[in-house]
Amino acid sequence: MLELDVLSRRGGFELQAGFLAAPGSTTVIVGESGAGKTTLLRLAAGLDQPDRGRIALDGVVYAEPDAGIAVPAWRRDVGYVAQDYALFPHLTVEQNVAFGLRAGGVRRAAIAPRVAEALRRAGIADLGRRKPSMLSGGQQQRAALARALVLDPRLLLLDEPLAALDLQTRRLVRAELRDLLRALGCVTLYVTHSPIEALLFGDRIVVIEAGRVSQTGTRDELLRYPRSRYVAELMGTNLFAGRVGAGPGAATVRTGDGDLAVGDPGEPGEVFLTVDPRQITIHPHPPEGSAQNVFVGPILELAPEPPSGERIRVVLGTRPPLVAEVTRDAVAGLGLREGMTVHASFKATGIRTYR
């Protein structure tokens, strides 16, 4: 079990984060660049020390400034894979993988078989004699992973492990990496800015925004109950925060960006409201019919959705801002294009509220 609760100030940037991570599970730390993801990983690795708080792994305290504890990285039971892999350029792949075993004082005779096994498991058994500069990006990633995993760390830290790869390799390595991480018994922290990787790898997902944890939860919790606009955007849905009043006007919820007609507002108080992008219809002209929520605004962006591009995300400059998802045929049929002013509508019952 990794227990982490830290405060770190460095050159005007403040990171405050706390969470628990269980052995055998992968915790994805997701956020935009500059949100503090890498800082968090460096604190866990011991490459930086927190100003306040506590980091403990399986009951062993690694950092606790108030108690004067600051275990340096090389004395921690961690494996770390940096974003650009940082394989030692002057050593062969074999020597890179053996580096940690040698430094850790493993018997000479035991090193070669463990290195060979790690290379075999990483699928690069025949590349041991090569220099890192002779490897492709995907091979470097495997070598870096083998170098960290050969130590059997109790905490594995991965900093954007797929970001340095080209798209095709990334897809290939992604599936492999997922199987590999599932089979590991250690605590894994996985830093990424990619929503796909967050959903794919994260048993639990910790969302960081501007140095603060904005939401922690399982993939389903985040998908169903996003609690910040960034999380909603990450998960591809529309989120509003509003206030349900009392009495007859309760079905109209005031949000910071305008009023929404809600089917079932529930008790008075602060609520989150989400609207599935697929529930929103787009009309070139004012719509007739029963939808209570109609907003006018320009189309800011038309973006085809992977994998087939059959569905198109329509980003709207309405107030409140909305994202809709329509078929490619609908875009063609309605003649939608960026910059065009349209009407977006959805039913009151299309809104889900939660607290």
């Binding site: 490459l47 990285a73 921690r76 940690g100 220099k131």
Partner: protein
């Protein structure tokens, strides 16, 4: 490129060639090669060459031994007085060597505190072979230190972080990651220091004197020979010139060498 520009460029190159190349050519062509070869067995030359090689090698070893920790400190730490230390280390590069030799003489001479302490032990440094080594080390140290310091600071922090997360103590990281990665710079710096030590004259003659077989290195022997037998001076000059060119050339050609070294190392896992 305009014509005027090209002419200016050509003039600059020609001027520099005249300044640097002409004297070298004059030395190299003064005496026919066969006569030069015959001169190579001259006892004065052999003695001076032996002394020069021994003292410059010793001075280089001394500089590497003392300069490496200092370079590491300068490359990785900041501390009060760092700027001052840097100026102090660079000083011998711009100081007239005779002044350096005089300063050494004042510091280690018979009447200095250090000299008196050594005298109690029955030791005296000035006018010994050790004085030659110290004078050369004093003058040539900045070349190694600045090159090594630059090489160590250029080692990417990512590799140091990686080493730390692979159980490597700071000492092990220095030994197995920083030094190997900075090795080309260190080697180049050591070669420059060696070449400078080999050519040292002013500090040596002031601090160590000009005693044949004890402190008379090649540059000193050239100066002496010049007043007696010009052809002997030419022979020694040509030899020194060839040594210097050899050292500088091997630094320039170093990268392919390292490739060979790497391949040799890669063979053992």
């Amino acid at each position: 490129m305009g014509l005027g520009y090209r002419i200016l460029l050509g003039l600059a190159v020609a001027g520099l060639f005249l300044l640097l190349g002409l004297p070298l050519a004059a030395v190299a062509t003064r005496v026919p090669p066969a006569d030069l070869l015959a001169r190579m067995g001259d006892p004065m030359l052999v003695e001076a060459l032996r002394l020069s090689l021994v003292t410059s090698a010793a001075a280089t070893a001394l500089v590497v031994l003392l300069g490496l920790p200092v370079s590491y400190l300068l490359a990785t730490r900041s501390f009060p007085g760092k700027r001052l230390l840097e100026v102090l280390i660079d000083l011998p590069m711009v100081l007239p060597p005779t002044v350096a030799g005089f300063a050494l003489l004042l510091a280690f001479g018979r009447n200095s505190p250090a000299g008196r302490s050594l005298a109690v032990l029955g030791l005296s440094i000035p006018f010994t072979t050790l004085a030659v080594v110290l004078a050369q080390a004093f003058i040539a140290a900045p070349f190694f230190i600045s090159a090594t310091r630059a090489g160590l600071s250029e080692v990417d922090l990512r590799y140091l972080d990686a080493a730390a997360t692979l159980r490597a103590s700071p000492a092990r990281t220095l030994l197995r990651v920083m030094l190997p990665l900075a090795f080309p710079s260190m080697l180049a710096g050591a070669a420059m220091t060696w070449a400078r030590a080999l050519g040292e004259f002013g500090a040596t003659i002031t601090f160590a004197g000009n005693l044949p077989g004890v402190t008379q290195t090649m540059p000193l022997a050239v100066y002496v020979a010049l007043q007696q037998d010009v052809d002997a001076a030419v022979a020694m000059s040509v030899l020194l010139l060839a040594l210097s060119v050899g050292i500088l050339l091997s630094i320039r050609l170093a990268p392919p060498w390292f490739g060979l070294l790497d391949r040799a190392r890669a063979r053992r896992p």
